[in-house]
Symmetry: C2
Subunit: 216 residues, 2 copies
């Protein structure tokens, strides 16, 4: 394949909207999670985030990125208010509703009501979650970092509870997200299902790589 | 679907290896990038990262997570030494080689040589990149944050140049990663191709969501 070279100057010269689309694609395929929160007055909110990343298994930590000037601000305010949020995976059937949650609803409008995504509660937690999500994490806020370079926030939380179909959890602990129907996204607006290529065993120097096939 | 409730205690009680597999799956599908670096002595290194996230389009910023006690330490050392790295997407044909790059090679062994992934150079940059990658970003290190809660590093870089097939860049600036053959991964060991569900227009309150179909 012939690769075109987009220089720094070419990127700077792009139209703002074009550049936003272009740069948002570069990191690769992204996780998609609906973040469920409520504020101190009990107003619920649901917002799509494509930046949730694994940070550690013990304690079980996840990070996510938020722009302070975006619609995410309701989400971040609620997380700091209550110290809690839920992370909810999205299936193909829910993808359009998940995207619609990115519209700029007023603070007193719930995206649950606006999109029809069903709200559920988990005992012992303030944050609402999505009943139809194939996997939900209930998360407690732990710390955040403000990036000097563009004022973006990196929010860190600890996973407290996980709700999912235990039939897709393999003997090794691997959770088969593809069997759950969890989707991935790219750029600002594209949603994708997946098809497994293979799973590979722990890689060792000088040892030929083997495929894994563990059972549910 | 009936959802099983994995409580915090159930997660704490998991065998360590089982828990690592389980928790690593929860964030959802992940980006997969091979990070190309070299040290001050010119020794090259290539390591798979599944935590690269978009941080902003202007300036064009990406973040990634590194555990200080992992094989990533060569990568992080090299980034801090030279201030540069490349991020390289992975296709189905390269997936096994990309996974093999996670083996604990000695500092004086290059993963390029060990796996046969072809090394390329870009004028004006120290860091090596992968010639067969469908998309490569040349990145300059900008800042990092150490997370108090588990000592993980969050590394932030600014995209300087992008090399990819311009035939997959749509009129809107959207880069069709699926057309490039870029793969996604899940957990610690699973690799997946994708199939597009749809792209959706910018979501507005009270307006029915429309699918997008812009041209290459």
């Amino acid at each position: 394949m012939k690769r075109h070279h987009y220089t720094k100057q070419a990127i700077l010269d792009m139209d703002q909207r074009y550049r936003a689309n272009f740069i948002n694609c570069l990191s690769g395929f992204k996780s998609l999670n609906l973040v469920g929160t409520q504020n101190a007055q009990g107003q619920t909110n649901l917002a799509p985030f494509s930046s949730v990343v694994h940070l550690g298994a013990h304690p079980a930590l996840v990070g996510m990125v938020s722009r302070p000037d975006s619609v995410d601000r309701h989400t971040i305010g609620n997380i700091l208010d209550t110290g809690e949020y839920s992370l909810n995976h999205v299936t193909q059937d829910m993808a359009a509703q998940a995207h619609q949650c990115s519209a700029r609803y007023d603070l007193d409008e719930s995206e649950f009501d606006a999109t029809g995504l069903p709200l559920a509660r988990v005992d012992g937690f303030i944050a609402p979650c999505v009943e139809s999500a194939p996997l939900t994490m209930m998360v407690k806020y732990r710390e955040h970092h403000r990036l000097d370079i563009n004022n973006t926030l990196f929010i860190i939380g600890e996973i407290q509870s996980v709700l999912t179909d235990d039939a897709v959890v393999r003997d090794s602990g691997y959770v088969d997200l593809e069997a759950l129907g969890t989707v991935t996204c790219s750029g600002l607006d594209s949603y994708h299902t997946t098809e497994r290529i293979d799973r590979y065993a722990y890689a060792k120097v000088g040892v030929e790589l083997k495929a894994i096939n563990d059972k549910a």
